[in-house]
Symmetry: D2
Subunit: 418 residues, 4 copies
Amino acid sequence: MVFDFKENDEQQLVVRSVTEWCEKNLTAERVREMDDKGHPFPKDIVEGLGNLGYVLGTVPVEHDGPGIDWLTQGLIAEVIGYFDPTAATAAALMAVETGWGFTLDRHCSETVRDRYVKPAMKGEKFLGIATTEPGGGSDVSAFSSSAEKDGEEWVINGEKTFTSGTEECKRWGGGYWINVRTGPPPPGAPHRNMTAFFLPIDADGVEVQKPYRDAGRMAISTGGFIMNDVRLPDEYRLGEEGRGFYYTMEGFDNARIMIAASCVGVIQRILDIATPYIKEREVFGRPLAKYEAIQFELAEIYLEMEALKLMTRKTCWMQDIRYQEEGMPTKTARATTFSPTQIAKWISMIKWKGPSLALDAAKKAMLWFGAAGYTKDYLLEAAWRGVMSYVVGAEGGKNIQKLVVARELLGKEYIPYK
Amino acid sequence: MVFDFKENDEQQLVVRSVTEWCEKNLTAERVREMDDKGHPFPKDIVEGLGNLGYVLGTVPVEHDGPGIDWLTQGLIAEVIGYFDPTAATAAALMAVETGWGFTLDRHCSETVRDRYVKPAMKGEKFLGIATTEPGGGSDVSAFSSSAEKDGEEWVINGEKTFTSGTEECKRWGGGYWINVRTGPPPPGAPHRNMTAFFLPIDADGVEVQKPYRDAGRMAISTGGFIMNDVRLPDEYRLGEEGRGFYYTMEGFDNARIMIAASCVGVIQRILDIATPYIKEREVFGRPLAKYEAIQFELAEIYLEMEALKLMTRKTCWMQDIRYQEEGMPTKTARATTFSPTQIAKWISMIKWKGPSLALDAAKKAMLWFGAAGYTKDYLLEAAWRGVMSYVVGAEGGKNIQKLVVARELLGKEYIPYK
Amino acid sequence: MVFDFKENDEQQLVVRSVTEWCEKNLTAERVREMDDKGHPFPKDIVEGLGNLGYVLGTVPVEHDGPGIDWLTQGLIAEVIGYFDPTAATAAALMAVETGWGFTLDRHCSETVRDRYVKPAMKGEKFLGIATTEPGGGSDVSAFSSSAEKDGEEWVINGEKTFTSGTEECKRWGGGYWINVRTGPPPPGAPHRNMTAFFLPIDADGVEVQKPYRDAGRMAISTGGFIMNDVRLPDEYRLGEEGRGFYYTMEGFDNARIMIAASCVGVIQRILDIATPYIKEREVFGRPLAKYEAIQFELAEIYLEMEALKLMTRKTCWMQDIRYQEEGMPTKTARATTFSPTQIAKWISMIKWKGPSLALDAAKKAMLWFGAAGYTKDYLLEAAWRGVMSYVVGAEGGKNIQKLVVARELLGKEYIPYK
Amino acid sequence: MVFDFKENDEQQLVVRSVTEWCEKNLTAERVREMDDKGHPFPKDIVEGLGNLGYVLGTVPVEHDGPGIDWLTQGLIAEVIGYFDPTAATAAALMAVETGWGFTLDRHCSETVRDRYVKPAMKGEKFLGIATTEPGGGSDVSAFSSSAEKDGEEWVINGEKTFTSGTEECKRWGGGYWINVRTGPPPPGAPHRNMTAFFLPIDADGVEVQKPYRDAGRMAISTGGFIMNDVRLPDEYRLGEEGRGFYYTMEGFDNARIMIAASCVGVIQRILDIATPYIKEREVFGRPLAKYEAIQFELAEIYLEMEALKLMTRKTCWMQDIRYQEEGMPTKTARATTFSPTQIAKWISMIKWKGPSLALDAAKKAMLWFGAAGYTKDYLLEAAWRGVMSYVVGAEGGKNIQKLVVARELLGKEYIPYK
């Protein structure tokens, strides 16, 4: 039998270890406090998890990283999502720092790696992603930030918005993966002639904007910044010139996997909060759990959580095969078993299903609790507000994911709006 | 032709007048500020609307009330819901004050009317409802608050929770409709031997608890209070002894109608916020409104809002017929055209459909806006958080409404849990 | 009070009368037999209902028609849908014959009226609609049938498909409303330069094709025909030359109203079949009706049926106002209260909601019955198969309706595919 | 890495082989003909597949069976569902014959094995399941069929209904797994004191009833039979006396796995029928596949099919582990890795999700096709009618599955109706 659906011993060990850490350091009280107080994200948590090797865990050992695989990193993200169901910790440390940090490490120079990636692995500095521009989220063609070569340096101008962690980055140090135009887009190919860079937040000419006030996921800031004649040496360029779009897509892939995995954890947590409550709480002389309408909803959420879990793990497994085939730490070949677009299809499926499902689970559980579910006495409302950030769009909204899946199923020539 | 689906001239006049007032006094900026600042509810708004006769508008002229019908009051609630889509104003002034205030007026003594109902009509005092107890929301049998006759007075003990407006009531003066046990429940009939009273908030022995911290609808407080040997004269009794449950159900009916009507307004507002945005905002070179997935959702929300509007107006029309037939200001006969349980079926249908629909509309609109929809730059997120209070349970959760509808369709003997 | 939601005495009389007729002539056994045997549709039913004035009931008295309004005709369609929940009778006699027959009467010459409309009112001849062509259903631009003037006559060539009642028309005599090209379409306006005609089925050059084998709605045939140099005198032209598209849209409007109204009846019938069954049938020692999951579904179907009913009646009321304002029997003015596109929005909403809801109701009821619901022992499976014909597309599929609603809400410039 | 989501070489070989056979023998034309003609099921198909070892494939080699695992048998069921999307072949040969045949083989005497199981493996005789009685489907307590010991024989009386394959069984020979009462049920434990038997269809006293007329899945009959003093020797008893309920549950488990697996195939087939059609068919000048509403539905169906596939394969994998641990061909130990109730939870999840999803996929695809989707020109309508049989209840309706899942999540004490 080839099929196997079980964690191996090493994976189980990692899960136990990160669970124990979270039981101590990411308690319900702590999470409530983080949500109430709002950003900046608590430094001790990123450092604690970073020192255990769970932040940027997939950075290869050759680069002094923990070198775990995506399957194991996905299991870690499940646990993080479980303990902080507001999604703030998972968003900050798994999607942003791990998803993008790994991708940064894969494409950056030794200098950037030493100065930024390695400290970020220990939770000392913040690594983020800043693609969105005021003109558009998922629409690269609306991007107008640009970099021009001036001698050995690049001069960067433009604005980035809806960027996670700007306040944290300012305080801790660190910087952002940006993707900017380094040449005019060929007709009909707005994604060409873009180049990725690493932008230190404290570079001259970077002006961080006031953070947004959001509906949830309060423990991590969202803001933006303006780049005004920012000068970067060429070693801050990521990968080849003109291929920034493709590297950025790779970063999105890794970040989205982390989001889906953390949603598995969020849903499991919602079930674990709700189950004892509905078993105890009596209405009309019987526990809520004995009401068919409630227990059927519980069963539905559980079913779909298991579906999501399997799909997410399969996606991690595909991504691991991809990176093994491409070569690590440096890409030396092309993936053969699954093409990147095949994997992207799976990634879009889980990024689409995960947050929607978590939102729905939180909403339903709030209803079971009645008025109590609407109060901050339980984490349900914070989970509900928090995962909504993933549904509305963080790392690509729902409709974008559907377009990706449909494109893979039908072919590029059936993209609706061309 | 008998069927007619149009507002008459007088109704149109009222709608125009309340709209104009709200355009000046309940602007988007004001609503945002109210949501940010949180309770207590601004006094100028309740007084402004009260002085125009729109709060407790259905109190009959014989009792110095505005004497409008429920259809017109429903139109007012639509407008209020429109201008404050966080549902706070509608919850406070329409569901609680108007729905319960009218019912209070119908069953209270001249003393209570003069001291509390009349000032409340001007927005001077607060009138609320406090039925829920720690043991249960919709489950009367779990209630343990009680009143005992001691000479000419009643001595009341117990606790009420999840009560709207406790902070406002404390500040402005006023009090609560309560429903307490005045005799042991006969076997299998926990709703018997309960009596309704009006409880002034400043009565000796009332101890107001710290308000809850909620996920939304911030401008109105939710709290609770303990009643410790509170002594009330008999003229604070509402209606006949032992029939408190039935009067309370009547109050719920009127409050729920107001909720449904205000949801019509909330949804219309969401559409009015979203429509210009999706027409302007371009992604991939075309406005969001040209994306089929988005415009189909818009069309679906609109369709269901029109359905809700018709159902709500029909329900108001039924309730008006009921009160005409029962006699006003004093009940002198029984309704013949529609029985109270028939009307309750319709009320449960709109209380169930309205909030769910409004929540869904807010969620979908947030998705169209992407990350921007998640910020406090638009009222969408406040609407989303606010109407959730109605969905989780204010004035009776979704499943309770379903049970009511099913009971009417199938008969009492098919209540599932007996 | 202007709002009124009640049938008047005359309408109640009509409902009682058609109900009594159906109780005798459209029994469950008869409907089962009609579905089993398949087309042609039984002549006695069309004649019986025709002689009572219920088929083409809205044809004005000036044209020797019954002259009832659309509201009353809608009530008749509800009853027909109730008694034949397979939708065959409603499709044949209400949507096709009444919806299109009325529109035909409004635009045809005295000759066509005498030869075809008047006999059809008595159930003697069949009147139908044949717009769809092999190239497309809702897409007029794909139509290639054409008429050319040759002296006093028109010579018609082309093919029509998915046409209701071809076998009935062949047997009973009668004919079809067709819409064909009488000039090249101006660029970007494929709906211009089309002209409507009445095509007698026995005209030389008409070749009726073999009927389709469908999944349901068996009692009425669906087929097609080829027109091969068919010559028609000019008095078979309907309305003005070049305006056939607009008249055809008017016909769709009237047919769709009938479909929505009949769906109200179908759903009511499904509830009436299911309710006694679930009350009696015991599983695990309690009637199915006591299971929350089942009774909540029942309540949901009922709620939405009432919503559909109100929306359908409002639409009929709007259409009646339209025709009153336009003038009857001959159009002499334009509607002022509601524009045709405003009414079309409502018509699309009910055509979209009605069949989907009926299909869902049938499906759910089948589930409550378990394996018994899957058999021909009950009409549920026939209703399920039958109403699906409306969902897939008869008189315009679901997505077309959504596009219409969205176009009205957003404006023509936001049609997605232009 | 332990996780693995890929078929091994042997499994791929089996899939290829059964696919090739079906491409020749279970063509779309053949399936259409089978559905049109109705039962009895064609003998050549059961014999063809039987001779290849794909019917009752999991019967162990020690019993002269093919001895494949459930994972591989699940892959076969996927292929069968793909080629006959009306579900008739999968229902007959996979769910009924394989699911129940394997379980029969596991618990029957050598005599029954030689006379019935071995011929059934070759497609010579029919093996079925007959549990349902007129009093109830999933409710064992309503069963009144009984067996009484009379010397060396059992005398059986009672009636079984909604039994698959009665006509086939009559023609081909074979018989049914029945489960009857052999003692009074202890209070509150109606499932005790039942014993399973194998009933040859030609036993004296068995009277086969007229088959039902169903909405779909026409190629296999559904009927019932009366047992009138049927005498069976003790070697027709299955397993221990009084434990029939438990063996029957095991049979349901295996049958349900086959149903879920075949639904994966049905959905894949629907996508494969629909995809080229929507790519080619143009409406308003663009292929249907370019319409967002359509391609998003396609993507959703695909996503959920992949979820179902993973869940089904995981369930097979669990079942294989169970049987390995229990011992084969004879049970010698208890499963340790997964308890039977844990596996039952997964089985109920896939039995619930699979048919619902397939029904929804068929419905949506019919809508994309419009009127053409409603005709017998495509297999979509036959798939839609066919899979409905699984949704309404074959092998346990949807609500039963939900109850099972909820019971596992909450504990037996939370079964709603106790």
